[in-house]
Amino acid sequence: MTVTDNPTGGIIGQARLRKEDPALLTGEAKFMDDLVLPGALWVHCVRSPHAHATIDNIDTSAALATEGVEAVYTGADLAEDWAGPLPCAWPVTEDMKSPEYWPVAQGKACHVGDIVAVVVASSRYASVDGAEGVVVDYSTLPAVISIEDAESDQVVIHEALGTNVSYEWPLIPNPEGVEAAFAEAAHHITETYVHQRLIPAPMEPRGVAAVPSPHNGDMTLYSSTQIPHILKVMAALTAGIPEHKMRVIAPAVGGGFGCKLGVYAEEIICLALALRHGVPVRWTEGRTEAATATIQGRAQRQTIELAADENGKLLAVRATLLADMGAYLQLITPGVPLLGAFLFHGLYDVPLYSFTCKSVFTNLTPTEAYRGAGRPEATYAIERAMDVLALAIGVGPDEIRSLNFIPTEKFPYDSPAGLVFDSGDYQPALDRAKELINWDARRAEQAERQAAGAKTHLGLGISTYVEMCGLAPSRVLASLNYGAGGWESATVRILPTCKIQVVTGATPHGQGHETAWSMIVADRLGVDPDDVEVLHSDTAISPLGLDTYGSRSLSVGGTAIWMATERVVEKASQIAAHMLEANAEDLELANGVFNVKGTPGAEVPLAEVAFAAFTAHDLPEGLEPNLQAEVTWDPPNFTFPFGAHIALVEIDEETGEVEVIDYAAVDDCGNQINPMIVEGQVHGGIVQGIGQALWEEAIYDEDGQCRSTNLGDYLVPSAAETIDMKLDHTVTPSPTNPLGVKGIGEAGTIASTPAVMNAVVDALRHLGVTEMAMPASPMRVRRSIENAQGGAA
């Protein structure tokens, strides 16, 4: 496929303010909790305070006597209300083990936050008051908290499965070759890294409302979700509601980062109770509740091995994961580690590759997708290990990378893991990032400080990355046993007055789809982007779609928009040709006017064509009235954005405090539709990735109690911790789609974590510190320095 030589209309590529922002920023947008639903009942979930316990008895009498409480239900009470357990759509292997996951637990609670009863009341306050009256007798069981304990099977959480191991998934195209490479390699690096559990913490926690129409059987489900379309299918099946009677609406959604990419118990509970009670039933999540009720991210231990020759040229990469699924499998829990399975060799040209993942159950909140989902983990492992290899060889971290980059002439590149990288040109990004950070001068300053015996140390850390975006070719998803396709749908409709309606199935939750999609359409049609309205997030308006995750929206959904626009233009040009008595092939559309090429004055505005299509008084023979086209696009491949990030940190030796004092990022996401949105995505992503490196951690004690359940204890970086970042980009268009775009939603998060951690180790290496776990908290850093210096306090 050829890349279109656009921008044609001069709108694509403009840094335009986001049209959705005024409503979002002023409170005009309606988020879940803003919905007014007269007569609605409120649900409060009674959750297990224990990580692992049998539920011996539930006494609901006091709760039922509480003013405003309408009903209290246990798991047993609702057992007949579910058509099936909560769905997992990604059984990654034929023999994957998956426990039954019911919306309300029956018999046993398997993590703190597991729902054991629900209180239904006339107000939210009454529902919480009532919940205080629910008395649950538990018998606690030994809790499995660490992945190592889980793997040992000394305590098996789900007895029916007989083991805590859910699945093992190998990807070893040439086992003998890998073994031989490691046996013969001049250098064999083995590193182990741990990705701590992260709490996604979007600004808006989750919320649900199910609104029934008891007489005609319709059911409308409102949810603060990333995936109204997928949710509609899954909720219909799980709650036993005919799909054609289900409508799902995602109101304004205050962020997701992957944690709203599931089918949650509370959604099914509200549906079931709305059916029972015949009135709207709603639930709003509290922040503290969200800490254990909403999925968490990352959570894996990685061992990565590099085989390299005497010069540092990679011969083989072997990655072995132990991944924490949590207590149950959510919608795509098992697949998350596999989204990184193909990328543990990073952007390096490596002939031999081996990946194995073993995933286990623990008595903790289920894990799932969190911004980057699998790719930050893979990038972290290879980028940290490359620094270790550079040391072993005795070259700089920049040099080891340049030596091993996939050469530009090898694209499209057949990766050792079986992918085809679409396009890439890696060295210019690294060169530019070094320039932005002033690499040589900073290195010199670092050496000067060390020589002077300063107590504040500088460290430079590089992270170069490639990721796979544009989820996804449906056939590839089939080969991974994923339960759905990866296409996206779009409708473009030119209204009689030449205003444009666009319908997208890629549901936004803060990304700026309305702005970007309207720019794509306006660019092609030659209209003002403000004359293009983008409709989304309601399955009655946008019946078909696969929603937003995995940096897929632009490369899949945006391409569908582009193609639907092209199709509308084709039809309009037939009408224009009829009006001009010319051949459609001789027409071109520029600045909103059809003209006959080479014949000045022979022209008709698109607006007149649109009105003619509406009146249908004089259309070409056989042509249907109106200008509308619908396209569903299934991409032929993933896209592979890449880039180079460099962090400069300063570490206070006495306190252990790490401060990122400079940061350079050069990202290549192919052609850019709106560079301002690209920058915003990179800014936010970098800060979120630094969050993992320095601050964020879901802290659990040995009993499985979460000790970081509010934003005072769970350290999400704030504006005050955010630094000025030096951004630039290169442009290597993707040949995978006609827009030449790749995706940028997760790049910052993928790249910044290893950049900062490499910088931390770089700053302390001369003190004898060789490794640092995440987050690099002041106490951890201080202890590492003390330990390296012989335990002096």
Binding site: E289, T655, W695, A720, S777, A793
Partner: protein
């Protein structure tokens, strides 16, 4: 994050507040800026049946400097302290400490009296008043009395205030000698993991979050009085402290930080 049902009354004078307190007794809590009490209520860790809102009592808000004494109404907000030119001249330490409490939203609601009465050892302002050798004015049914800051903090979240008393004013001496506050935290709006406060050229040294109450670092003060250098004095900063352990630091790390931060505070305050 949904509090239990609670009664609410708003009063506009100290007299009315004390009357309401007498009427509702143990069931009542005084509500000032609400920056500590409301979160506790939302978590249902506190469930008073009556809130007496004293934040709007005009006579309890304001800063005045008379002679050598700065008098501050208990309902004066952190933001007012932070932005007072008068306070910046008379007691720059207190103005500075107020400016690093939480974030701007918290500082516009939170009050000096509320912070002191809550007596959180991790809060910034109690240690400042302690380092400055301040005095707290309490009013009750039997009139008002003055309590030295050194006598005020009696235990974790406990003060010398009687059940029928409310804190109405704070007095600190005019203090323009060398001062410093070294607050160590991981994010700008967080409580101090440890904080070290130096007032009046080392005459007062206090520690934040190093025990159940805000503390005077008396070993440091005596060492300085005995002629010790800042380095020597700071070495004894953790002496006699029993800090807690939490996500951000264990007791040993806190003791280490107390020494580092006290040394920095002393040097920042101009001591060799």
């Amino acid at each position: 994050m949904i509090p239990a049902a609670v009664g609410y009354t708003r009063v506009d004078s100290t007299e009315a507040a004390l009357a309401a307190l007498a009427e509702h007794g143990d069931e009542a809590k005084l509500l000032a800026g609400g920056q500590s009490l409301i979160p506790l209520m939302r978590l249902r860790l506190a469930a008073p049946s009556m809130l007496i809102d004293v934040a709007g009592i005009a006579e309890l808000s304001g800063i005045s400097v008379v002679g050598d004494t700065v008098s501050i109404g208990a309902m004066t907000t952190h933001s007012a302290l932070e932005h007072s030119g008068e306070l910046a001249e008379a007691c720059p330490l207190l103005a500075h400490v107020a400016s690093v409490v939480g974030d701007p939203a918290i500082r516009h609601r939170g009050t000096l009296g509320g912070s002191l009465a809550h007596a959180d050892p991790a809060s910034d302002l109690p240690a400042a008043v302690l380092a400055l050798g301040g005095t707290l004015v309490a009013s009750g049914s039997n009139g008002s009395r003055e309590i030295a800051a050194t006598e005020f903090f009696t235990g974790f979240l406990e003060s010398a205030l009687g059940a029928d008393e409310m804190l109405t004013g704070i007095k600190v001496p005019v203090s323009t000698g060398g001062w410093s506050y070294q607050k160590f935290n991981r994010r700008a709006q967080d409580w101090a993991i440890v904080g070290a406060m130096v007032a009046e050229g080392g005459a007062g040294v206090a520690l934040v979050n190093m025990g159940a109450t805000p503390l005077r670092a008396s070993a440091v003060e005596s060492a300085l009085a005995g002629g010790a250098s800042s380095v020597e004095a700071a070495a004894s900063a953790a002496e006699g402290t029993e800090p807690s352990s939490d996500n951000n630091g264990d007791a040993a790390y806190r003791k280490h930080l107390a020494q580092v931060l006290t040394g920095r505070a002393l040097r920042d305050a101009g001591m060799e």
